[in-house]
Amino acid sequence: MTDLKKDYQKILASVQKPVIGEAGKTGTWSRLKPVIDLEKCIPAKSGKFSCFNCWLYCPETVVSREIPPKINLEYCKGCGICMEECPVKAISMEEVKYE
């Protein structure tokens, strides 16, 4: 006889498992990806923790708040919001190969 209570606990544990890429590699959704020009990027140029609009406005949580900001292209959907919201136009959307 199956132990219903145990089975239920097992199901609960699996239902609640948070994972990266629940919808798969969402980086495949778009051909164009953001590329940051570090000669223009404010924190990269000044070495100071400032701006980070690309981190702030990314709906997909794939930009890091570090110097320089890094973008996880495996999951970036290529929406282009970071490009639009960069105050110094340091981001352009390009066809890039990534692992």
Partner: protein
């Protein structure tokens, strides 16, 4: 106002969700959860936000979420609050209902009104993308005048329901409007609501690229225009006191408001809008700001 480095760095949503590219709701949820922190239990009715959490077996968010049938959000939240009170955890854990505009202004209004009337100690957040997006853009009570949806092929003939006002009429301690394009303002409002006892209501305008008809890269700009034109003012009503939020302060002066056409023509859902509707928008905006001025002067 908080700045970019004041915001919690921890993320509560993993990358790789099912949300469309450029979805403002995903951004709003991201910062709402950051402001609320780990001691939060959520409840969510059927909506795009349900889909964000993922399919059975796996999920995207690191917090506990109770998925609830469409009409029951307010009741589900009250149930969670009661059980926490029973366990003596009510002061420690914040209960938050997060629902779409269809689930709030139409289908869930009864349960929400009941919870507000009971004074249930929770936050109810409505992300308003102005239609039933998850099922293919049908009109809701929150769809604005003149907007094309699958069920308003000639443009909606009725204006948007004013949900924050309806909640205000319940006499709850906190009602606020917000907008996915003003992250710092949104973040502060969730932080503030977390520390207030009683029912808190936050209504957030949430731009939606496929439903509104614009390029995903323009999500922040489009959302900003809703506030810059004076159509979607940001404010709080805290214990009866009306407070105009910082991004909206300059729009008290009509000359600082952008023309409503700038907002409308940027979206395909308004492509057949009639001059009469534009006139209606302008008189609505004027009346809305006259009321705001009156409220600020008479308190």
């Amino acid at each position: 106002m908080v700045n970019v480095l004041d915001i919690v760095e921890d993320e509560y949503i993993h990358p790789g969700t099912r949300m469309c590219a450029g979805c403002a709701m995903a951004l709003i949820y991201r910062f709402a959860l950051k402001a609320l922190g780990p001691k939060t239990i959520l409840t969510v009715p059927a909506s795009c936000l349900t889909v964000l959490h993922g399919m059975q077996g796996f999920c995207t968010t690191k917090l506990s979420v109770l998925h609830t049938p469409f009409a029951t959000t307010g009741a589900a939240a009250s149930g969670i609050v009661s059980s926490l009170e029973e366990k003596g955890l009510a002061d420690e854990i914040c209960v938050v209902a997060f629902a779409g505009d269809g689930g709030t202004t139409d289908i869930g209004i009864q349960a929400l009104s009941g919870a507000a009337e009971r004074g249930t100690n929770f936050i109810y957040a409505c992300y308003d993308n102005e239609a039933y997006m998850n099922t293919g853009v049908q009109r809701s009570g929150s769809t604005p005048l003149g907007a094309f949806t699958a069920t308003t092929p000639g443009g909606k003939t009725r204006p948007k329901k004013n949900m924050p006002k309806i909640l205000e009429a319940h006499g709850i301690p906190y009602v606020a409007t917000a907008n996915g394009s003003y992250i710092f303002d949104l973040y502060e409002k969730f932080q503030k609501a977390r520390d207030i006892k009683g029912t808190k209501y936050i209504h957030i305008l949430s731009a939606c690229p496929p439903g509104w008809g614009y390029d995903p890269k323009d999500t922040i700009k489009i959302g900003r225009l809703a506030t810059e034109t004076g159509f979607w003012p940001l404010y709080e009503v805290f214990n009866g006191k009306f407070i105009l939020s910082k991004p909206s302060k300059k729009h008290l002066d009509a000359s600082n408001r952008k023309p409503i056409e700038e907002y409308l023509i940027a979206q395909k859902r308004f492509k057949d809008i009639k001059q009469q509707d534009i006139d209606n928008y302008n008189s609505f905006i004027e009346a809305q700001w006259n009321e705001i001025k009156r409220r600020l002067e008479n308190q």
